[in-house]
């Protein structure tokens, strides 16, 4: 089985489980008392947000690896992870307002957390633009590694800014120093969602990685850039 088929298979399993996850979240998980059905978006929003940040960290780690080992596979992985991270950031930025409208009464507010996620999205876009602007593959890999590493170190700063402000955004209820403060059934659904999103991340990245190995695709890309 070739890599692209493997990636496709993982993605299909992930998508099928995502459907199961929807059913579980909508029909078999209790409705939150204060927020009502709007809270269901939590099962999509938070795992996507976690993978948005994790993907950037992986881009940075791949960058460090690349600068030491000069292995083009690491660069291809970083490119794949960045593209998938961009998509996940877009998911976070779409699901957030859908929840915000009924709960806050506004689609968007310049809250610290929203702003920082938006900037993480811009960071991804900048990274992809830089990759697009450098024609030579070796130079591109090196430049992208430098920016990716800086991006990885920016993530904690973006994350920290949340704690410095009074924010409208709900405080973390699972990934926090004390124990998760939500009922077991909700936690179970959430963990399932996290698993599904992890699978989707792996599936997407594998497919994108396989695509960058395809000589016809790559030559089209560079021809387009030249």
């Amino acid at each position: 089985m070739s890599l692209v088929h493997k990636g496709r298979a993982i993605t299909l399993v992930g998508l099928a489980l995502l459907a199961v996850d929807y059913v579980r979240a909508l029909a078999f998980t209790p409705i939150e008392r204060l927020q009502g059905p709007a809270q269901k978006i939590f099962y999509l929003h938070v795992p996507a947000a976690i993978w948005t940040e994790a993907a950037m960290v992986l881009v940075g780690l791949a960058g460090i690896g690349y600068l030491f080992l000069r292995d083009p596979r690491l660069d291809r992985f970083a490119a794949a992870s960045a593209e998938v991270g961009t998509v996940f950031a877009a998911i976070v930025l779409t699901t957030g307002p859908i929840w915000g409208k009924p709960i806050w009464g506004t689609w968007w507010t310049w809250d610290a957390r929203l702003t920082s996620t938006l900037f993480l999205f811009f960071l991804y876009v900048g990274y992809l633009l830089l990759r697009g602007a450098v024609v030579d593959p070796g130079l591109r890999a090196r430049y992208a590694a430098v920016l990716g590493i800086c991006g990885m170190f920016l993530v904690p700063f973006i994350h920290m800014s949340v704690y410095l402000f009074r924010t409208l955004h709900p405080q973390p209820i699972i990934l926090k120093p004390s124990a998760p403060s939500l009922p077991g059934s909700m936690l179970a659904t959430w963990l399932f969602s996290l698993g599904v999103f992890s699978l989707l991340y792996i599936g997407f990245v594998t497919q994108r990685y396989a695509l960058s190995l395809d000589p016809t695709v790559e030559s089209e890309r560079t021809a387009g850039h030249a």
């Binding site: 600068l67 610290a112 702003t115 920082s116 900037f119 993480l120 811009f122 960071l123 876009v125 900048g126 990274y127 633009l129 830089l130 602007a133 450098v134 130079l139 090196r142 430049y143 590694a145 430098v146 920016l147 590493i149 800086c150 170190f153 920016l154 700063f157 973006i158 920290m160 800014s161 410095l164």
Partner: protein
């Protein structure tokens, strides 16, 4: 260490000498600062928004925009007549080269800020004399961080197409943490509140400076080596 600093100072001196002979970049940047401050005056309704509420924003947007304009200059001028190759083959460590560029950029931005701050006080009638020392401290702390990142990135983009535009696009997400810290600390200072209230933001600025000055020092050689 002493040798590194000495070499860095030589590089900075060279840049400053070049600038003193032509004065194009620094004069443009200073005029730009004055213009932005003037434009801000027309971009607000003085009867609706008190100047003091808008003051930190005006100050920091002006400073960051002016700084980004001057950052491009650092490596752009080395492209002429392959001056960069000359610098790279000279017995000059990469760290010194980066520090030299960083020092020159910092002095540049400091000149722009030294002109911008009095103009800001004059145009917007914001009293700063009672908080001048802490305010200058906050400005210095924030400037160091974003000029360090900006100097590294200006070396990344020089060989790409649309270098000026790309620098702004990849740099702005990195400006968010220092900008937030600087604006919040400035707002508290201008409000006449004690510096101790801004400790969180000052720590953020200090952590950002330490992280990104070290990171940029380590990563710089990957941006210029062939």
């Amino acid at each position: 260490m002493r040798e590194l600093v000495r070499q860095a100072w030589t590089v900075a001196q060279k840049d400053l000498l070049l600038e003193l002979r032509t004065r194009t970049a620094i004069v443009s940047a200073v005029v730009f600062t004055a213009l932005v401050l003037t434009v801000f005056n027309f971009g607000r309704d003085p009867t609706a928004v008190a100047t003091i509420d808008l003051a930190p924003t005006i100050l920091w947007v002006t400073f960051t925009f002016a700084a980004m304009l001057t950052l491009n200059r650092a490596f752009q001028l080395e492209l002429e007549n392959q001056a960069l190759e000359g610098l790279l083959v000279s017995p000059l460590s990469r760290t010194s080269l980066y520090w030299g560029k960083l020092i020159a950029n910092l002095l540049f931005v400091a000149v722009v800020e030294a002109v911008g701050l009095p103009l800001f006080v004059l145009f917007f009638n914001v009293p700063v004399s009672h908080v001048l020392v802490p305010l200058v401290g906050v400005i210095a702390l924030a400037t160091l961080g974003f000029v360090a990142v900006g100097t590294l990135f200006s070396a990344l983009v020089i060989r790409t197409r649309f270098a000026e535009l790309l620098l702004v696009v990849i740099l702005l997400p990195f400006l968010l943490p220092p900008l937030i810290g600087a604006v919040q600390a400035t707002a508290r200072l201008l409000d006449g509140r004690p510096l101790s209230e801004s400790v969180g933001y000052l720590k953020l600025l200090a952590a950002y400076d330490i992280t990104f000055v070290s990171l940029a020092t380590l990563l710089f050689r990957y941006t210029v080596d062939e």
